[in-house]
Symmetry: C2
Subunit: 436 residues, 2 copies
């Protein structure tokens, strides 16, 4: 297929939003599928060149992106969108530069596809290679922030995948313009522009349709709040990588170093309460609590953290409100902290087991045996000894990118770098072998 044809097809795809939404989602996913087959045989250099062309195009087209973004902001303001959401939606020259720079960093990362992961020599002479390959077509369903549009596209294209992006309606004008700019940039490279599709149907039905697109989408990754993720997990027949929910605990053991414990607890709660790897519940060994809790609680209260605790906590910290069972299971993402006092490690692990979401869990202790038991027995994507749970993050792990933090056990668990967007295939080399 020639460049010319691909660009024509791309135009057709963009025009399809005038027909019904069923056609748009299915049609664009099909175009992405055709592009995916071509993507799989591109070289790393070709993919990187395309990412750099995308980065440049965002800078060149900054004014038109800001103009499109203004439409979204005005519509949002008229509709009563909160200032904090409008701020997340807003693009300016500085933000566009930082989005463009992030694209260049993705280009610099190693390509995880085309690697021989395993070789097997069989007694019958068969030579078997397991090779990393792109997943195919990835669907991303996400909310307002337009930087996700660029970021998700870059990570998918870098790994040789095609991508179908379904962003929130609040950012629709911005996302459409981003797609135009990036697809035009791709048309100047050897990447098929159809590898990048943005769904313009902002109704719920386009999401519903994506969730059932088995055969056209290889995986769906939801990025956003709990209700978005739950909708995807509950209704998708396409395989899903679940990301997000974090009811994370920090357990301060009897032998914890008091100043380390304090620093880690404050960091896990306060450094950025709105994210999934921040602490929702502080668990303390009773001995440690008797010695240290009132001072630690004082510091949390000083920083405007509302405390909710069990009976023993409230004896030591009169300012604490009672914590209900529901509180212990809640991801606040806010300046609220549950406190639980326990008799020892077993009780701490049992509490985490009951209320945790298997995201990130920490023990602060000087007792090596307790640390080993905690790291082995707590079932979570990331288990920490003497460090803040806030480190559960692709960049902090040194991956150079983050697709999200998987909270499921299949395929990828914890922070996902580029290899999470690959699959594998077996190549078998024979000389006429048949099975007996």
């Amino acid at each position: 297929m020639s460049e010319k044809n691909l660009t024509d097809q791309a135009d057709t795809a963009q025009a399809s939003s005038t027909v019904d939404s069923y056609s748009e989602v299915k049609f664009k996913a099909s175009l992405a599928g055709t592009a995916a087959r071509r993507m799989a045989s591109l070289s790393t250099d070709e993919k990187n060149a395309a990412l750099l062309a995308m980065a440049d195009a965002l800078i060149v087209e900054a004014d038109s992106l800001i103009e499109a973004n203004r439409e979204d902001l005005e519509r949002g303001r008229a509709g009563g969108t909160s200032e904090s959401l409008l701020d997340r939606l807003m693009l300016n020259a500085e933000r566009i530069t930082s989005i463009s720079d992030a694209l260049k960093l993705v280009a610099d990362l190693p390509d995880p596809t085309g690697r021989v992961l395993e070789t097997i020599e069989r007694p019958n002479g068969l030579h078997i290679e397991k090779v990393s390959v792109p997943l195919g077509v990835i669907g991303i369903i996400y909310e307002a922030r337009p930087n996700v549009t660029v970021d998700a596209a870059a990570l998918c294209l870098k790994t040789g995948n095609a991508v179908v992006l379904r962003g929130g309606s609040a950012a629709l004008s911005t996302n459409k313009r981003i797609a135009e700019v990036l697809r035009a940039a791709l048309a100047q490279t050897s990447l098929p522009p159809d590898a990048l599709q943005v769904i313009e149907d902002a109704s719920r039905s386009s999401v519903d349709e994506m969730l059932k697109l088995n055969g056209l989408l290889d995986v769906i990754i939801p990025r956003g709040g709990r209700s978005l993720i739950n909708n995807v997990v509950q209704n998708a027949t396409v395989p899903v990588i679940e990301t997000g929910a974090g009811v994370c605990h920090t357990y301060l053991d009897a032998s914890a170093d008091p100043s380390m414990a304090e620093a880690i607890a404050l960091n896990a709660k306060i450094q950025r309460p709105s994210v999934c790897n921040s602490m929702e519940t502080l668990i303390l060994h009773e001995d440690f609590a008797n010695r240290e809790l009132s001072s630690l609680a004082g510091q949390l209260l000083e920083r405007n953290v509302e405390l909710r605790g069990d009976e023993r906590t409230r004896e030591l910290v009169p300012e604490a409100n009672p914590a209900s069972e529901e509180d212990y299971g809640t991801e606040y993402n806010d300046y609220i902290l549950n406190i639980k006092i326990v008799g020892g490690l077993d009780e701490a692990i049992a509490h985490i087991d009951k209320f945790g979401t298997k995201h990130s869990e920490c023990i602060v202790t000087e007792d090596e045996k307790n640390a080993v038991r905690f790291l082995n027995e707590v079932d979570a994507a990331a288990v920490y000894h003497n460090a803040s749970t806030r480190f559960t993050d692709g960049f902090e792990f040194g991956f150079g990118a983050e697709i999200g933090i998987s909270t499921q056990k299949l395929h990828a668990r914890g922070p996902m770098g580029l290899p999470a967007l690959t699959s594998s295939k077996y190549r078998i080399y024979g000389t006429g072998q048949i099975r007996q």
Copy 2:
């Protein structure tokens, strides 16, 4: 929890089938979850000892297993079950010995859990280890053959998982007795008997309930025919590993060695037509077809294979029936073969792309360049050059076991050995690090 308590709980679990089915599935999955946490910290030796105890118990209890199996056979015969299905259901001393021997082989395999897969040293001093861990609780939904009950249990327990087995109603008495025998054997070892659960509710509702058991089941693996697998894929909210469907092709290129091509094609079709890695469609380059098809077709007809072909095929092979579009997309698992003649490699790949199920695809050619293109461009779990597709099998790949053949791209693709039943977790070792 003491051995005694576990055995009591096990009895309670078995008794729960007298209450409603909702309780049975949920209750047994919860017991499995508790057992899974204990399973995760058992040593390889403990797990192997349990597998050997299970193998011995099957031999000791062979008579009672055959007796229970007789009930199933009689019920099946009275209900008009076909002789071939009854044969698959039937247990005798010889089959029990072979099932028991298979258990011992699983004990001999290396344990894929507890391995450090990756280590990362961060500039801030954090030491990060990615370690392989059990998945947790695995649900298996399958059909008649009682050997699957033992086999699936063994593979799950070996990898430190708990398992909830929901077999077909035709084998219910056999499966119940197998569960009793194996759980009693486990009670004599350090493995919690609750790690092995057999659902006795043979109604559809127990399957429906398992499919939605998020939080209690970590993954569901369906093993069986297309309708069983489709039901699971379409209705599960628990993550699924899809196995099974194979519309596999063999492409005989212009330069194929005639005798190798003939041997591979006959083997792929005839050696065992009922399985997913057998060939459903033979694609031939027109030059090769003109020279060789009538002789090859003669051999297939001689072996009672019904041939269905396109127009050009029927010119060369008058005995062939017409092949419809639907035929080209059908997994016959029978002595029926579609034939398609193409102008070259591109057309062959396009046909596979349109009708294949991404399972196993083969090119027979002496042209190295065409072989490389086929292996790179055909999107399938296993792609072959000059060997029969019948080798797509965990044992033939040297894995020593096979959970199934994954036809999805997430988590595992192609034949699944023991590592497919593991996940990973990150263990992070700090010295008080907090995030800035």
